[in-house]
Amino acid sequence: MPNPVEILGRAARRIAQVAAARTFAYAILPAVVATALAFSLHPLAHLTWERWGYVLGGGAERTLFDGLLAVAGLMLAGGFTFAAAAYLRARDLVAVAERVDEAVGGRQQILTLATLADPSAPDSAKRRRSPLFPVLWNSAAAFLESFDPRRAFPLDLGRSITRSSVLASAIALGTILAAIGLIRTPTPLQAQASRLRELAAEIESTSSGPGDLAMAEMAREAADALEDPKLTPEEKKQRIEEVMRQMASHSEERQGGGKEKGKGAGGGSAQNGKGSGSGQGQSEGKSNGSGNGSAKNGEGKGASRNDKGRQGDDKRIELQNELSKAEAQIETEGASNQNPNSQPGGEKDRGEAPEGGKTPEEKAQGSQPSPRQPGSIPTQSAQGNRNVPQSGTGRQPGKDQGSNLGDTHLGEFPTPAQAQRYLKPGEKGGSLDIHDARYVMFRLPSATPVGSGGTTVIDPHRTKATTPYVNAPLKETSSDAPPDERQLVPPRYRDLIH
């Protein structure tokens, strides 16, 4: 004869376990959804950036990530708490007896037995036992003889999980709404930081050694510095320059190894830079509109490498370019911050020009091929002499030097002040070597500057018309009549349109 109280105890444990599991199951799906959303936030943000050009800022992404993890944690903690409470609550022997009674059809005999035989009940309950209690005990035992708590109270979590899907959906919807509310059009610095991170990832994926990994890490540091709101533009710039210096030193080390290789394999056909040259670019903008740029490329002994095809080097070069862009962007933003009322392109008003010669190629002399001879490319520095080709600039025509000069997103048109690259009349430039530029703005001088040394050259091979023609008289272009409407020329174009 089984002991009904023991069976009820087993049933109580089973019911408590099932109750706790069902209660906890309510929290599982929302927690899983919140965690999955948290860890898919970065890829989703990246996808948003790639596809639609919106960015979930680092801070916002971190906030959302933390929030979702907190929600998941809260759900789990709450689920655990409620499950524990359900476990303790479900262990009440009388309540269990009532459920067992329903399960076995005992017509409240089990319930009555439990009220009178509950070990935790006060003695007053036991004193209510009548002489008929043995009959009740035997009857309950007969009912419970073949009773299996596991079969009577199966662990079915489907209902709990189905119900919790409402909460999970709410979390997902809330996250989506929060993300929509938090996405922004990226600032140039954010775009640049994002690009640096991409590069870091690419370098890591194609890494050929610890040097590449270190480089990727540097890129990430630079990206972090770019997006760190606590840093001033000067500090950011210092960080970037520091990273660039580290990369330069790293490149030198690599070059040192590559030199030996090149000599052995290429028979001296490759002229490696000696690595000690210094490149300087100076550009001073004056408020009076004068500016000059000069670049000394050391001795002009940039190394020409014979291993250009190597993927790692390409990435490194690309990374250096991006760092240069970032540096320029910091300067631009710094200038904007100093003169918040100035319009875009206001840096021109201060006569600032991109600092020639500070490109990473020039800073790390010998590590970057320099297809130009020093001073071959004039650089416009300021509005007064913007059309005057200057000699001695260290800019390279193929490089996208400006921060937003050709690598912009979403309607950020390049400012012309940093985009002038042109050759002297008659001068034959090298091939353009432009990377990652979406917009490249060329501007030709309207007239040959006086004293520039240029001469008019008649091209004997020019195409001539074989059919006689007569120039039709042009319509008079000037009129004394007032224009139909007057519109102010935007400031950025005032120095271009005469």
């Binding site: 009388v94 007896a97 009532e98 017509r107 409240q108 005999q109 319930l111 009555t112 439990a114 009548s130």
Partner: protein
């Protein structure tokens, strides 16, 4: 068959069921139909209560009570209540007698001194006479000229009421009605039952019930079975269920359902809850259980409470019966969870 107190609890329960079933069968040998009334009569007997039977004349109320008494071996007396019936006619009185040359008053017990008393058409007697009976019902004793006389247990009064011919009657007041454990309605027999009645009563065959108990031992045996009823156990949630029912039937209380507050003036007294509990216990025993279940209570609600609810004018005007109100209570009341 006699009571055997030394028997095991299982045997006592079995004996109770056996006695009850046999009594039902024996009464049914004489009375056609009215199974529910017979059961309630026997239930009231084993609960120690009294029963009010309402029905038109000629339905066999008297025969049913007499047959039950004969079956159980109990003494039976019948009192026909009339407007000129006096309390002394029921209780008994002192009569002057002479013994050995000495005259003295000697108490002459009335018909109330029996185990089973049938008060026929109790609403025809004056309230004074009714009160004399009802006091005896409650106290199980009568006092005559300052002398108290105990009524021998088991004691049960079966009062009948005629729902028609109400002119010149004295309907029982609510306080008196509350003293009856049950109020059962005897409906006219169905055609097939009537046919059986004709066959049994107009032929030569005379059916008599087989006594279950020896008349000398019957009171003790029945008292033993009555004690068994009170030993039946009730779990605390079921006690709360009974309390909930009574509360739900009491108008203008927090537990009352809207129909109760709308149609009732007064609800059941604690006697109603006691009746519910005792009747439930008998129901449980009849099922072979020693603990009460919810179904046992539900089965007892209407007969135990129908005469304890006092309808208001609106209910009478709309012909809302207490039975329908109790049915609503039963449907709406949720069984308490442990």
């Amino acid at each position: 068959m006699g009571a055997a107190p030394q028997t095991s609890p299982d045997q006592r329960v079995a004996e109770f069921r056996d006695v009850f079933k046999r009594a039902e069968q024996e009464v049914s040998r004489v009375i056609v139909g009215h199974q529910e009334v017979i059961r309630k009569l026997l239930t009231a007997l084993f609960c120690g209560g009294h029963i009010l039977i309402e029905g038109v004349p000629g339905l066999g109320k008297t025969l049913m009570c007499k047959t039950a008494a004969d079956t159980l071996g109990l003494s039976f007396k019948r009192i026909q209540f009339t407007p000129d019936l006096m309390p002394s006619d029921i209780i008994g009185t002192q009569v002057l007698t002479e013994h050995d040359g000495r005259r003295e008053f000697q108490f002459k017990p009335g018909p109330i001194f029996a185990h089973m008393v049938l008060g026929d058409e109790v609403n025809r007697a004056t309230p004074k006479t009714q009160s004399a009976v009802l006091e005896a019902m409650e106290e199980r004793q009568v006092t005559v000229f300052g002398v108290t006389y105990k009524l021998d247990p088991p004691y049960i009064v079966l009062a009948t009421q005629n729902p028609i011919e109400l002119e010149g009657t004295y309907p029982l007041p609510e306080a008196q009605m509350d003293r009856f454990l049950f109020k059962v309605i005897m409906n006219p027999p169905r055609p097939e039952e009537l046919r059986e009645i004709l066959n049994r009563t107009t032929g030569t065959e005379v059916r008599k019930p087989e006594p279950i108990f020896d008349p000398k031992l019957a009171p003790q045996a029945i008292e033993s079975l009555k004690a068994l009823v009170r030993e039946v156990m009730v779990a605390e949630p079921l006690e709360r269920y009974i309390i909930g029912i009574v509360s739900a039937c009491t108008p203008n209380t927090p537990g009352a359902i809207p129909e109760v507050s709308q149609y009732l003036r007064f609800g059941p007294s604690p006697r109603g809850a006691q009746a519910l509990m005792l009747c439930s216990k008998v129901n449980a025993l009849l099922e072979g259980r020693v603990s009460v279940g919810y179904e046992d209570i539900d089965d007892a609600i209407v007969p135990c409470l129908r005469h304890r609810l006092l309808r208001n004018f609106q209910a009478e005007a709309e012909n809302v019966t207490t039975e329908s109100i109790l049915e609503q209570v039963r449907k709406r009341l949720k069984r308490p969870r442990a």
